[in-house]
Amino acid sequence: MSMSNDTAPGALQTRADEWVIEPRGRKFVSRVREVWVYRRLFIYFGKRAIERLYRNTALGKLWIFIRPIFPIAIRALIFGGVLSVASPGGVPYFLFVMVGSSIWDLFSSCLSWSTRSLQVNRGFLGRVYFPRIIVPVATMAIAFVNFLIMMGVFIVALVYYRVTSGQLYLAATPAHLGWALAALLVAVTMALAVGLWTSPLNAQYRDVRFTLQYVLEFWALLTPVMYPLSAVPEKYHWIVFINPMAGVVQAFKWGLLGIEELNTTVFATDVAITLVVLASGIWYFTSVEGQAIDRI
């Protein structure tokens, strides 16, 4: 590539294409620049993750649609139908669970896929160099696709209720939608932040992946996803809000359906927690990525 930019013998050896390999990784700024240079790989690894998931299946791409919809149908049936949990503000329970589940599933599948990402792509990591952080980030594409499909179903359901009951349940103001987007951003960042800790750990100890599965199931129950916050006595709300995902899910529900309360103090705390975890995650990931590759 740079065959032509030969310098005369004896010229100073400070050429633009100089590189250095040292035990300690490079500085933060040059790493960020490097991620930018390799930005195409985000698309590549994202696509690859999705294609890989549905490879060798008879239904193929259909699974992309089936997978997110099934759990929702089951949850709506059990909680709304059998247990008849009441949803606040007169919103149909299906819409309520749809909204809560879509953001929670986005978070949990972002986290579980990024946790597995280094292990799944180990063939690549052992053979070619690129900034490793791209892998856990790009693998979250699977979760985004699921989320988009759930949003599609949500819109269809909104239209259905508009036609049958004449009521539009969507809180269609810019402020609401803005909060919904902010909640999504925090959920994804939080998943990434935790994923940066778990993916190198999982490369070494596969126990992480299994443990995480149970942690996420339990975490989902602690988060007001399938029940409204009002189902919890007021004096225990502070306990619910210790969980940073609770505020995020609440903000998303408020943003899309205008139901329940938007607690900005809680949300701001969640953002702060997320940023701290993210910073520690980046620090951890970059300091162990080399060893993690040796041990996969």
């Binding site: 890989r52 053979r127 160099y129 040796d294």
Partner: protein, 421 residues
């Protein structure tokens, strides 16, 4: 001008698995005695290696197995970070490690080429033009839309090599590219590397093929046990290497070995290469006898054992051989199976030995196996009569997976009869 300079490079692997946090916790909760025994053992794959390479040099890297050749290339490719030391280099680096450099078996050749070029920043219009060059050199035109998983290993390495060279990197890292692939392609590979070197590309050429090293390399470094032992002209270093009796032991439990060499009935302890008179060696001459010796334990009394070895070379099975009579372990014990391979049978190439121990316990079969149990090189120098005859006839120094000297009878049958037209 220096293309790459390496100073004090070292790479340490932990051979024992580091204790898991759980084990650390248990150790701390009282059982202090176990803590020290669980401490990971360190293995320096490279230690204190320093050298620098000028632009356009084809640098041969040789050494016995486990010398650190591949580790050096992996560090240069940034696949694994060094533990100490520093490398300064210039320009783009194209690695060809473990035959493939990140090729995707599920994608077609065309998709792989496009992906590889995209990775390396080639523009879309440029890709189409270069695709033809890559395909022509790799000779895979009919298979362009075939997924790589259906490729032969030869086609695979041809494609990988062709792509890497086509990028015209400043530095090419070639690890055993000649181990697979047909002779004609190997020849073109060598020519291509030679041209690239002349055009200013720096090439790191790791090979066990001394003939290729001598033909190609301007300079050769010899590694042994992670250290740079010798640095000089191809002729000097190769002859030093060939004369030295390398004693490389290969003990079970080292990383990278596949197979199930341990079970409740026994384990394969070690597999070694011995000379005809029983010295442990790392390489052997074509005209000398060689023995492969597998040590294994049998734990179940009354089990019968039978050893089988498979020799692979150039990506195919060269031959397999099994111990004709089984032995019965009346008492548990350590056994040693030795097989002698006569001189003038093996070809001058690299062999990969797979060892299997078939155990029969009360009529039930159980297998211990160790893939890549041993890798060794057979060399035939220019004075080897058999080899030079073959070279004379075939016009190439490449041989097959075996090069047996057989019993030939040539007699005069009768006078020439000129048949009427």
């Amino acid at each position: 001008m220096d293309s790459i300079s390496v100073t004090g490079l070292g790479k340490c692997y932990r051979t024992n698995k580091a204790p898991s946090p759980w084990q650390q916790l248990m150790a701390r909760l009282g059982r202090k005695g176990e803590e020290s025994s669980r401490r990971p053992r360190e293995l320096w794959a490279l230690k204190d290696v320093s050298f620098s390479v000028k632009r356009g040099t084809i640098l041969g890297v040789i050494g016995p197995n486990g010398a650190g050749k591949t580790t050096l290339l992996k560090i240069l490719a940034r696949v694994t970070p060094p533990t100490e030391g520093r490398i300064v280099g210039y320009g783009s680096v194209a690695p060809l490690l473990e035959l493939g450099a990140g090729l995707q078996p599920d994608m077609t050749a065309r998709e792989n080429i496009a992906m590889y070029m995209t990775w390396h920043g080639v523009s879309r219009g440029e890709i189409d033009r270069r695709l033809d060059e890559v395909v022509a050199f790799a000779e895979i035109d009919q298979f362009l839309d075939t997924p790589l998983k259906r490729f032969s290993s030869g086609m695979y390495v041809r494609l990988a090599f062709s792509m890497a060279v086509n990028m015209q990197p400043d530095v090419l890292l070639a690890d055993e590219i000649l181990a697979v692939g047909d002779l004609a392609f190997q020849e073109r590979c060598l020519q291509r590397v030679q041209e690239a070197g002349a055009a200013g590309m720096t090439v790191f050429f790791v090979s066990h093929d001394m003939a290729a090293i001598q033909r190609l390399c301007d300079r050769v470094i010899l590694l042994n046990a992670g250290q740079l032992v010798m640095d000089g002209t191809a002729e000097d270093v190769v002859s030093h290497y060939e004369q030295a009796a390398w004693t490389v032991s290969s003990t079970a439990g080292k990383g990278g070995r596949k197979g199930n060499h341990v079970s409740e009935h026994g384990r394969i302890v070690s597999v070694r290469l011995l000379s005809g008179d029983g010295r442990e060696i790392g390489a052997v001459r074509h005209d000398e006898d060689v023995q492969i010796s597998a040590t294994f334990t049998v734990l179940t009394p009354g089990a019968t054992a039978r050893a089988v070895i498979t020799l692979n070379a150039r990506g195919v099975i060269a031959f397999r051989t099994a111990q004709p009579d089984e032995v019965t372990a009346v008492e548990p014990g350590v056994f040693r199976a030795n097989v002698r391979i006569p001189s003038h049978l093996l070809a001058d190439t690299i062999y990969i030995v797979k060892v299997g121990i078939l155990l029969t316990i009360d009529g039930a079969q159980s297998t211990l196996s160790m893939d890549n149990a041993l890798v060794f090189r057979v060399y035939a120098d220019h004075e080897d009569r058999h080899k030079s005859l073959l070279t004379l006839y075939h016009g190439s120094s490449w041989s097959g997976v075996v090069m047996p000297r057989l019993d030939w009878q040539v007699t005069r049958e009768h006078d020439v009869v000129i048949a009427p037209v």
